[in-house]
């Protein structure tokens, strides 16, 4: 009922990269999905600026992009700050007898 219905494989790809930089082949070797599927997930993660890649010889090595994570964190923090500020404003109206 509370299962995450999203894309668990993409999360696993991301989790693998959090442990260290890897090539597409190294990721595919650890997951029950094909190399093209791994490449597709990496494209999405790259588009979301959570991972970056660079050439190492003939291979492309992917790693987590810390600045992408930081940007995402700042967004999430500001989202909750904003929500809680609205909650507080409403609570203040309530405790002062308005509303």
């Amino acid at each position: 009922m509370f299962d995450a219905l999203g894309d668990p494989t993409r999360r696993e790809v991301f989790e693998l990269l959090r442990a260290g930089p890897r090539s597409v082949g190294e990721i595919a070797a650890r997951l029950p999905v094909s190399r093209p599927a791994v490449s597709q997930h990496l494209r999405v993660l790259k588009d979301a600026r959570l991972v970056v890649d660079e050439r190492a010889g003939t291979r492309r090595i992917y790693r987590v992009d810390p600045s992408g994570i930081d940007g995402l964190r700042r967004y999430v923090e500001s989202f909750w700050k904003d929500a809680l500020a609205s909650f507080k404003a409403s609570a203040e109206r309530r405790s002062s007898g308005d509303d």
Partner: protein, 146 residues
């Protein structure tokens, strides 16, 4: 090098007793949540429904009767604590939000902890593709901030 990802923790203190703060936060969420800035349907949102029980849903209801899910309540422990599977996106990827309410000198300290937020980014592209709605995608926000 493992990238350690800490949960996001935010808190406020409000001048209400714990029971009132809990009730305002939960069943009266529709009276304070900034729907214009943070919702899926934006101008179409008529109300936010908070089903206050374990297994209850939190969702927005639109003026045409449609519903858009935000969360499922995993743990309901009034007036001190609740835990949500937070997934305000159509892909269904869920993250973990816990809200605690503790008596303080000024009234109540409300603390919100969000785990798994880092997974929202991986889902941002899918979310953007699945609805054209008003909830600003994570991707748009932190692109704009760059």
């Amino acid at each position: 090098m493992t990238t350690e990802i800490q949960p996001v923790v935010e808190s406020v203190e409000v001048g209400l007793v714990v029971e009132e703060a809990f009730r305002l936060f939960t069943e009266q969420m529709h009276t304070w949540w900034p729907v214009a800035r943070h919702s899926i349907g934006e101008g179409k949102v008529e109300t936010i429904v908070f089903e206050g029980r374990t297994g209850g849903r939190v969702y927005e209801r639109w003026d045409d009767g449609a519903e858009a899910d935000w969360a499922d309540i995993l743990e309901w422990d009034p007036p001190h604590r609740l835990r949500l599977a937070w997934h305000p996106n159509e892909s269904g990827l869920s993250t973990d939000v816990e809200v605690s309410f503790a008596a303080s000198e000024a009234g109540t300290r409300v603390e919100l902890t969000h785990w798994g937020w880092e997974n929202l980014g991986a889902d941002a592209v899918a979310a953007r593709e699945s609805y054209s709605g008003g909830w600003k995608t994570v991707l748009d926000i932190f692109r704009a901030a760059a």
